[in-house]
């Protein structure tokens, strides 16, 4: 795909950093505000799509290729399952960090409560794992679709 106009490329350079930060914000605050792993990952992946469209291809950026994304995706998935396995003391997916006073487990009263970053035990870890996996997965989908579109355009021209 050929590059978009200069205006689009400059706006993208300005904006895609903030989109990625906003995406990570949604992932990290999944248990407090609406959002979570999947939605945050989708926002971050939209930043990659923006880059891909405005620059025509991501090959210029060395680190944004399929192998890195697939590695990230596998790590995200494995982290999710390992965190679920850690709860195997009582049962699978058990929230062993909640109300335990350790890293993410501040004491919290049931019912309506203000809640802050580390009152939800295992949930933030799960959200980060899912967010990692989703933005890598959607990144792969966007890249492959771009290659597929490239292939069909070449086939039509020839």
């Amino acid at each position: 795909m050929k590059e978009m106009s200069k205006i689009v490329r400059n706006v993208t350079n300005l904006v895609y950093g903030f989109i990625i930060i906003f995406g990570f914000y949604i992932i990290a605050h999944g248990h407090l505000t609406p959002g979570g792993g999947f939605q945050g990952g989708a926002v971050v992946a939209s930043a990659f799509a923006l880059l891909l469209i405005s620059y025509g291809q991501l090959k210029a950026k060395k680190f944004l290729n399929i192998n890195i994304f697939s590695l990230l995706e596998s790590c995200g998935l494995t982290m999710f399952i390992v965190v679920a396995f850690l709860g195997l003391g009582t049962t699978f997916f058990y929230n062993f960090l909640a109300n335990s006073g350790s890293w993410f487990g501040h004491m919290v009263i049931p019912g309506i409560n203000p809640g802050d970053m580390n009152t939800a035990g295992v949930l933030p870890l799960m959200n980060i794992a899912v967010g990692l996996e989703v933005f890598a997965g959607l990144g792969i989908i966007v890249l492959l679709m771009a290659d597929g579109a490239e292939f069909t355009k070449k086939k039509e021209n020839s």
């Binding site: 697939s70 790590c75 494995t78 399952i81 679920a84 709860g87 195997l88 049962t91 699978f92 058990y94």
Partner: protein
């Protein structure tokens, strides 16, 4: 933290973790992914056997995710189950054993069948994902969880059907058709789940079953679920995706797809027996399932006789054998209301139907593996181009004979054991059904004689001079299936008394199903 009371989830979680690790292992060394996947599936087979022994001795097992007990007590003292949980009873573990065994053998077979160059790690991670989703469909006690596993199963099987799609067009077409059909059916299942949640505010199958009032809405949900799950199992009017999907998928995947559609068949029995049981009009729904069975049997086998592609022929036979299961369990359901008829022949009919699920998974798997072996050596699936292969592929011929004899229901093999249960009990219900079943069995034998003659018999053809026997791992998988078929054929009562009868009882007795969850109220 002894391992034995965590077995229901370990059967699923270990292959799931392995499925996610495989892309990483694939980067280190290509050959290790296949062996790693086979070992993990062997491990989950062992866990399934441990769980089966525990269930058949102690009773149905419940495994709750995320908390000790499935209940949430509101401040007002109202208690109702909200947690997602696995409820594995005799019928669930019966299907779990089939799934574990068939996917383990499929992994062994594909060690040699799948060539190492394109996307091997995708293949094995999708294989593990398909196995995990089938286990999930069979063990889950939560109806929305069943929808999620149904969707994962259809997505994993579609991607595996399109595995040979990089250089061929047909597999992608078959995969696309199956995906469109599965998406419609999964969304209709979600609609039915919405109806259940709207009416009873609870998603747990046992809890819904205990408060089921069979209102007008429940009839709509029942209608949707029966027709959609019949489609996923491959019953006739809606079976047309089956020949396309089974003939285009690689052979070990077709074997596992057969068991995946049997998992949807299990889900239909679970909905009809455990969710509704006596509240529905058993005669009407029973006759619907019987008509599905009859159509599947007759049209499946008549379409099979005129096929030229060996895997397409076997796919149509899979449809006609599913008709036997539907017939057997349909008769059991039709007489569920009056206990005398149920005792006289209803339970035997259901035993025949459910035992046929196990037998069918074994010999249909064996036949698809032999078809895969022929394709592996001759490169073609067209029966007109094959001939005289018995001269070169001795073992495959023996395995094919065992498989064909078993599917046609010849006496010493396991097909006959379950078919005689169906014939005798269905005859008491309505003689015509039993006669049609026997005619279909004869036509099945006729079409497999055709395959045997055109593919194996005949003179040595010049173009197959350098064909030799298939590698050892493929022969091993086929040999294990043949031994199981012969063992089940010679001692069917062992399997029927210890495995099939408890499974039938766990389907019929709905109060036992609800008590295991709500009993602990």
């Amino acid at each position: 933290m002894n391992l034995s009371n965590h077995t229901p989830i370990l059967i699923l979680a270990v292959p799931l973790l392995a499925a996610f690790l495989i892309p990483i292992i694939g980067k280190i060394n290509k050959k290790a992914t296949g062996i790693f996947a086979t070992l993990v599936l062997g491990l989950s087979l062992i866990f399934t056997i441990i769980l089966a022994v525990k269930i058949l001795s102690v009773g149905p097992q419940i495994y709750v995710f995320g908390a000790k007990s499935p209940f949430l007590t509101l401040p007002s003292g109202l208690k109702f189950p909200i947690r997602i949980m696995f409820q594995v009873d005799a019928m669930g573990i019966f299907m779990g054993l089939i799934t574990a065994l068939v996917s383990f053998l499929g992994a062994i077979y594909s060690l040699a069948f799948i060539n190492k160059n394109n996307g091997v790690d995708n293949y094995y991670s999708l294989l593990l994902l398909l196995t995990v989703s089938m286990f999930g469909m069979e063990f889950t006690g939560d109806i929305f969880n069943f929808f999620v596993f149904l969707e994962i199963a259809s997505m994993a099987s579609v991607s595996l059907i399109c595995y040979r799609g990089t250089d061929l067009g047909e597999p992608v077409e078959a995969g696309f058709k199956y995906m469109v059909v599965s998406s419609i059916s999964a969304l209709m299942v979600l609609f039915a789940v919405g109806i259940f949640y709207g009416e009873y505010d609870v998603l747990n199958i046992a809890a819904i079953a205990s408060v089921m009032k069979h209102s007008q809405l429940d009839k709509i949900a029942l209608g949707i679920l029966v027709s959609v799950l019949a489609m996923k199992a491959g019953a006739v009017p809606v079976h047309m995706w089956t020949p396309d999907a089974y003939s285009e998928a690689p052979a070990p995947i077709t074997m596992i797809l057969v068991v995946a559609s049997q998992a949807s068949l299990y889900a239909m029995f679970r909905v009809v027996f455990s969710l509704y049981n006596i509240t529905l009009n058993t005669l009407a729904v029973g006759w619907i399932i019987i008509i599905f069975g009859l159509l599947s049997m007759f049209i499946g086998v008549t379409m099979a006789i005129i096929q030229k592609d060996i895997k397409r022929l076997m796919a149509y036979h899979a449809i006609s054998q599913t008709g036997y299961m539907l017939l057997g369990v349909g008769v059991g359901l039709a007489v569920l209301a009056n206990p005398t008829a149920l005792q006289r022949y209803g339970i035997t009919a259901m035993e025949g139907g459910i035992f046929h699920i196990m037998n069918h998974a074994m010999y249909k798997g064996l036949l698809f593996l032999t078809a895969g072996a022929l394709f592996f050596r001759t490169g073609t699936r067209n029966l007109d181009k094959m001939g005289g292969l018995a001269h070169y592929m001795k073992y495959t011929t023996i395995f094919f004979i065992i498989g064909a004899a078993a599917i046609a229901g010849l006496p010493p093999f396991n097909g006959f054991a379950s078919k005689i249960l169906i014939y005798e009990s269905v005859y008491k219900f309505n003689p015509l059904l039993s006669i049609i079943a026997m005619v279909v069995s004869i036509l099945t034998l006729a079409s497999f004689v055709k395959v045997f003659h055109s593919a194996f018999l005949g003179p040595k053809l010049p173009q197959f001079k350098e064909v030799k026997e298939v590698p050892r791992s493929m022969v091993l998988a086929m040999a294990v299936l043949s031994c199981i078929i012969i063992f089940f054929g010679l001692f069917p009562d062992l399997i029927v008394k210890n495995l099939v009868h408890p499974a039938v009882m766990s389907l019929i007795e709905q109060f036992k199903y609800t008590n295991t969850v709500l009993g602990g109220m």
